[in-house]
Symmetry: D2
Subunit: 401 residues, 4 copies
C-alpha cells in the first residue's frame, strides 16, 4: 500500500512540494463538508483577508484557485492581457522558461530577455526596453521572483524603480511560487500588480491551491483583457465574493482548513521570523557547499536564493546519480538538475516549515552521497561550517522560553 | 478552530462533495513526497490503468488534472475543438447551463437545445439536427449525463444510436461528474469521445482532481484543435506519459494515494455492486418522497437519477428554509434549489460511499424538517416506505458473510 | 488491512467503545513526545483541573491511569481498602457482577446485595445493613451508577442519604463508567469518595484511560489501606503531582491531547446540555421500543438508563442473531445480551458524541433487523415515535443560530 | 491547542516514547469499533501469533495488556510468584531500581544484587547464589535486559547458562522494554519464562500496550501463584482466548490496528535487519561521543546498549541544562540523567523506526548544545565520525533497489 517504505522519516529537501507540519496534517484530516453552508463562506472570508498579509498587501484581492502554480500563471496572464499584447519576460532557468512557453502559447508577443542559467534577470535590458517604449506598447513585465531551477532570486524592487523612473504603465506580474512566505516580498510597496504562489511551497501545504493576488490596477485591466478564460476567470470569483458565498465552483474543504492552520503557524511564528529563518537556513546551506569545495550555481551573491540552493557537481559526476542514490540509500529527497543544468547540478530545497537539525541531517546525508559517488568530500565539513553559523544565530523557540 | 461544531456527525447529503470513507482519509493523512522520485510515477502508472475501469474503457486515455469539474469541462472542450466550431449542447438545469456558458465563453458556436427543468435532454431535436447536418458542420455533441440540479439522467446510449444512424462524425463529449462510479456508464460501448468526472463526487474523495478520459478519436482531434490551452493541455501530459514521469507539473500526493484507496474500495465492493447500491438507495429515497406526498422534480421515470433526488416543495414553503433548518437543527446538509428552481426544490444527494442506515437517518431528518417548516408530513412515513424496500433488497456485506 | 469493510460508515451503537468525534481523532493524530519536557506537565496540569468539572467536584483529586475501567475499579478498591474489609456491593447485572468478582478476588469481605437483572440496587437492604452496623464494620459501599448490561441507573443521592441518616462513615465508591459525562453526576454533592470512568464511554475517546477521582476522605484512607498495589497506587502519582512532573510512568501522549479535545467539545456544548442530549436521545429510544411492542429490560421508570437501553426480545427470537445480522447486513453494531440475559436482550448504546439523526438511522436499522429475524414489527413505527418526540425537543445547534 | 510549537519537526531522541512511523499513525487514525464483533477477535488472533515472532518464541503465550511497562512488570510478577517468595534481582540503574521497588512492595523477598551505575548485572554473584541454593529457595531471577537509564545491556544467555549449569528451576523473568524489537532477543533459546515490553519503545507505537509473553513453565506457575491480581491476571485472558473472543475487557481498537501496522513494517524490513539497523545507529552514536571527547556512562564494551547511549558530561556542566536547551533552542528531545546520574549524563535514545540522517541531525544538534553550554566541542566532529562509519555500512533501502 505504501510505495516508498524505508525505516524512519523521508528527508524531503526538494524545493517543493515541501514538508507539511503536523498541525496542518491534523487540520486536513477531515471529511468533506457542504461548501454552500454558512460555515465555509465564513472560513473563506477570513482566509482571504489573512492571505493578504503574506503578500504584504492591503489593496490586493486574493483568489484561491483549485489548481497548481502553472494554473496560477495562466490566471495571472489571461485575466490581465489580450492575445497579441507585447510583454517582457526573463528567461533565467527552467521555470521562467516554462512560464514563457505558456505566455507564447497564450498568444502574447513576448520579448524574451535571456540570461545565462545561474544569473538573475537582466534588468539593464529591461531598463533599455522601457526607456525606448515611449508609446507604451509593452503591456506587462513578467518575472519570476525566485527561479527554483537555479536558486536565483531577482530584485523586484529594481523592476519597480525602472518602471517608475520612466513612468511606464506596464503591468507588473510576479511569479512568487518559491518565494512568498519565505523571502522578503512586498506586493504593495513594490507596486506589483499580480503576484502568485502555490500551496505546496513555503506555505507547506499539499499541492492543489494556486493563490493569485491582484492589485486594483490588475482588476481594472481584467475588465478589458480579451484572453479567453473561464475556469481561471477572476470575474466569476468576484461575483461570488459579492454574494458572500465566495465559490464559483467546489473548493477543497481540506485545503481551506489546511490553509487556516498554515497561516496560524506562520502568524504565530511571525512572518518576519519565518523569513529570517529561511535566510538563516540558506546561509548555513551555502556555507556547507563552500566547505565541500563545490560551487553554487548562482553566480553572484546578490542573486543567492534563500529557498533553494543549486549545487554544481564536478564534471566527472552525474548529479542525477546523487539524487537517485540519496533517495535509495539515505531516504533523502534532493532536487534534480533540470534541462540545461540536468546532470550538472543537484538542488537542496530549504523552504517551508523546517528547522536547523532537519537541515543538518540533510547536509550530513549530502556529504555521504557525495562520497558515495566518488567526490572526495571531507565528511562532517559541511555540517561543521553550517552549525558554526547556526549555533551563533539560532534564536530560542519563543513558545519555550 | 472548527466552525461547524455540533454534537455527533454531520449528515452530508448534498450531491457533492460527498462523504469520504475512513480508509481514504487514512490514506491521505500523509506528508508530501518528491513527485519526481520513482515512487510517484509507479503509483501513477497503475492509477491511470485502474481509472479506465471506472469509465469502462480500454482504449481511452485518462488525465488526472489538479482541478475541479469546471476545469475538467474546459479541458474536454479546448483539447478537441476550435473557436467557432458548431456544437450541440443541452440545457436542462443549472450545471448544463454553466457548461453551456463556458462553451460560449470559449467561443464555440453553440446550438442550445433547451428543455424544461425536470426533463431530460430533448434527443428528438438532436436527431433532427443530426439528420439535417449532411455537411457535418456539427463538430461535437455535449451532454451532461446526470444533471445534478434537477436529478435528471440522460440516455447516453440513445445519443450514440442517433449519431451512428446518421453516420455522423461529431465528437461525443460527456459530463459524468455526478454519474461516473455511481450510474451505469460505458465509455467504449457508447462511443463516448471525452468523459469526465470530479474526485469529490461518486469517487468519494476531496475536491481537487478532475479526471478526463479521451478516446483515440478525441486524441486525434486534439492534434488540430485550435483552442488556446496550456494548463489543461493533454499534450503536455502525453509528453510526460511517454517519459514515464507522468506529471507536467506538481500533482497532489495526497489525492494520488487517496485515489488509490478509493479505487481499492470500489473494486473490492465491485463496480457493479457499487452501481446497484446507488440504484437501491435512490429507489428508497423516491419511495420516501412519494410517501411524504411530495413530487420529484424529475418529470418522468426514465430520467430518474440514482445519485440525486430533487424534491419539489409546496408553493407555500421556501425550500431554502428547509436546507437552512436541516443544517441548523439536525446537522443535516441538504442541497439547495438552484437558479430556476431556487426556493422550489431541495435536493438529497445519495451518491458515493454511503449505506442504508445513513440514508434512513437522513430521511428521518427530512421528515422532521418538513414538519418544522409547516408541511403536514406523517413522521416515519418516508422511512417506513424506504425501509420496506431496503429490508427486501439489501444484500449481506460480502466480507462479513 | 481493514477487516471490516462495508460501504458507508459503521453505525456504532454498542454502549462502549463509542464514536469518537472527528475533532478528537484529529487531536490524536500525532507523533509521540517526550513526556518529561515542560509541555506535557503543563498540559496535564490543566487537564486534571478540567477533569474535576465532569465529576462535579472541587475537592476531589483525579488520576488518569493508562488502563481500562477494570483497572480503574482496582485502583479505587486497593487504594482505600485492606484485605478482609467488609464492603457492601450490589449485584444487578454483568458489570456489577464483574466488579464484585474483582472485590472478592482482592480479598474483601463482600456483602452482596442481589437484585433481579433489570432492577436497580436494593437500597432498602442497604438501609437495614447500615442501620444495623452500629460498630461500623462496613468499610465501603460499592455501587455501579449505571449497569451497562441491563440499562439500569441507580439512585446515588439516596445512598448518600442513607449513610448520612445513620451517620455511617463508610466510604462511598462509585463506578461511573457508563454514566459520567452523560448522566447527572455530582461527586461533591452526593459525598462520593471515589468515582471512576473510562475514556471510551461518554468521553468519546479510544479505550486506554481509566479516570479515578478521590475525595479528601478517600485520600486519607489510602494512607492506611493495606491492599497491595503498585501500578494503581495513587501515592506514586501524588509524589509526581507534587514535583510538577505528574507522571510516575509513561502516559499516552495521544490520549492526553485527545482528552483535551474531548473536554473542549463537552465544555463548548455545555456539560448540562450534553446531559440533556443524553436524556433526549434515551427518551426517543424508549419511545421507539414501546412502538415496536417490545419491553425494556429495566423494570421501572425510575431506573431507566439514559445511556443504554436493553431491549427484551420475544422468547422465539435469539437476540444474538439480531446483533449478528445487524452487523452483517446493515453495518450496525448493537450490544449483545450478557450472561443471564444472553440471547434475551440486545442493547442500544446511546451515549457519547451522538446526535438525533444518527440515532434515528440506528432505530430504522433495528426495525429492519427485527423484521429480518421474524418479529412482526411495523417498519417506521419506532422512528415515527422517536421523531415525534425529537422534533419537539431538539434545540438548534447553538453555534449555528 | 498545541503546546509545543516550533518551526519544523521535533527531533525525538528520548529512549521512549519514540517516533511513530507515518504508516502506523495512519493505521491508528480511526473511529472506535465494537470489540465483540467478529472483526476484532480475527485481528487479535493473528496479532498474537505474530507477536511471538518479535519475542522469538513458538511456545510462549503473549498477552496484550492495556497498560504500560510498569503494569507489564506487575503482570509478570504477580502471575508467577507468591508473596514471600525469594527472588534475585539486579540493581544497575533507575529502571531496575523501580522494578525492585515494585517487587518489594508486592511482598517478595528480594535478594538485590547491586552494581555501580554504568555496569551490567553482576552475574558472578548470581552464579554463587544459584550454586549455594541447593534447596531451590530462589523462585525467580528478575533482570532488565537493557537498563534505559545507563545504556547497559545485560547478557541474557549467561543467566540461562548459570541456571542450567546448576539445574536450578528458578523462573527467569526479563524486562525487555527497551530491547525487544531492537536488540537480539531469543525467548525460547535462552529459556526465558516471562518477557515483556511496552508499545512505545522499539515497536514505535504510542504508549498504552504492555506486552507480556509467558513460557509454558510460567503458565504452569500461574496456576499456583498466590499474588493477588485481577486486572493483570493471565487467567482471565486465557479464558477468553479459549472462547475465541480474546478480551476480558475493552482493548484499544487503535492500538490493535497500530500494532498490526507496526509489525507489518518490522516484518517487511526483516526483524534481523531491524536489529542490525539498531546496531549500526548505536555504533555511529558511540563514535560521535568518542569524537566529542566525552565518555559513555557504560563502563565496558560488552554492556554497550544499542538502543540508548548515556553520555557523561564534564563535572562543570549540568546535563539537565543540555536537555533543556536542546529542547528550547533546537527542538531536540534528549533524555535526562535520572536519580544517581541526574545532572551527570544525558541520554540519546536511538531506538525504534529511525534512520541514519535523523540520527545525524540529532548528533549535529548535540554538538551545538554542547558548545552552547560551554563544552569546547569541535563542531562537526561527531557527525564526521558517525558518518564515516555509516557511509560504509548503510545498505540500500531494499524496496528501492
Amino acid at each position: 500500500m505504501d510505495y516508498v517504505y524505508g525505516p524512519g522519516r523521508n528527508h524531503l529537501f526538494v524545493p517543493g512540494p515541501v514538508n507539511i507540519p503536523d498541525q496542518v496534517l491534523r487540520a486536513m484530516n477531515r471529511n468533506n463538508e457542504d461548501y454552500r453552508s454558512p460555515a465555509i463562506p465564513a472560513l473563506t472570508k477570513v482566509l482571504i483577508e489573512d492571505v493578504k498579509k503574506i503578500f504584504k498587501t492591503t489593496s490586493g484581492t486574493p483568489f484561491l484557485f483549485p489548481t497548481t502554480g502553472t494554473g496560477a500563471w495562466e490566471s495571472a496572464l489571461t485575466n490581465t492581457l489580450s492575445p497579441g499584447d507585447r510583454i517582457v519576460s526573463f528567461l533565467i532557468g527552467q521555470f521562467s522558461l516554462l512560464w514563457i512557453d505558456q505566455q507564447q502559447r497564450l498568444k502574447f508577443n513576448v520579448d524574451v530577455v535571456e540570461s545565462e542559467w545561474g544569473q538573475g534577470a537582466d534588468l539593464d535590458v529591461l531598463a533599455s526596453k522601457i526607456a525606448e517604449d515611449k508609446e507604451h506598447t509593452i503591456k506587462a513585465i513578467c518575472i519570476v521572483h525566485n527561479e527554483t531551477a537555479t536558486g536565483v532570486t531577482n530584485n523586484l524592487a529594481t523592476v519597480r524603480k525602472i518602471l517608475d523612473h520612466y513612468q511606464h504603465p506596464a503591468l507588473y506580474l510576479v511569479d512568487g511560487v518559491s518565494s512568498i512566505c519565505a523571502l522578503d516580498f512586498r506586493m504593495d510597496e513594490w507596486g506589483i500588480d499580480v503576484a502568485l504562489t502555490g500551496s505546496q511551497k513555503a506555505l507547506s501545504l499539499p499541492t492543489g491551491m494556486g493563490i493569485v493576488c491582484a492589485s486594483p490596477k490588475a482588476l481594472e485591466a481584467s475588465k478589458t483583457a480579451k484572453s479567453v478564460r473561464v475556469f481561471f476567470d477572476w470575474n466569476d470569483y468576484l461575483k461570488f465574493y459579492k454574494l458572500g458565498t465566495y465559490w464559483p465552483y467546489t473548493p477543497s474543504i481540506q485545503l481551506l482548513y489546511g490553509l487556516r492552520a498554515a497561516l496560524d503557524l506562520i502568524f504565530e511564528e511571525g512572518l518576519d521570523n519565518v523569513i529570517a529563518r529561511h535566510t538563516r537556513l540558506a546561509k548555513a546551506t551555502r556555507l556547507a557547499v563552500e566547505a565541500w569545495g563545490l560551487k553554487n550555481c548562482t553566480q553572484k551573491e546578490e542573486w543567492f536564493s534563500d529557498t533553494v540552493t543549486a549545487v554544481i557537481v564536478p564534471s566527472y559526476i552525474d548529479s542525477s546519480e546523487i539524487v537517485r542514490r540519496a533517495w535509495k540509500r539515505y531516504n533523502l529527497s534532493l532536487g534534480l538538475g533540470l534541462n540545461k543544468v540536468a546532470g550538472k547540478v543537484f538542488r537542496i530545497g530549504h523552504l517551508g516549515n523546517l528547522n536547523e537539525l532537519q537541515l543538518l541531517g540533510c547536509l550530513a546525508g549530502v556529504e555521504m552521497v557525495l562520497k558515495d559517488v566518488g567526490y572526495p568530500v571531507k565528511l562532517g565539513s559541511g555540517v561543521a561550517a553550517a552549525s558554526a553559523y547556526l549555533q551563533n544565530s539560532t534564536p530560542l523557540i519563543p513558545s519555550r522560553i
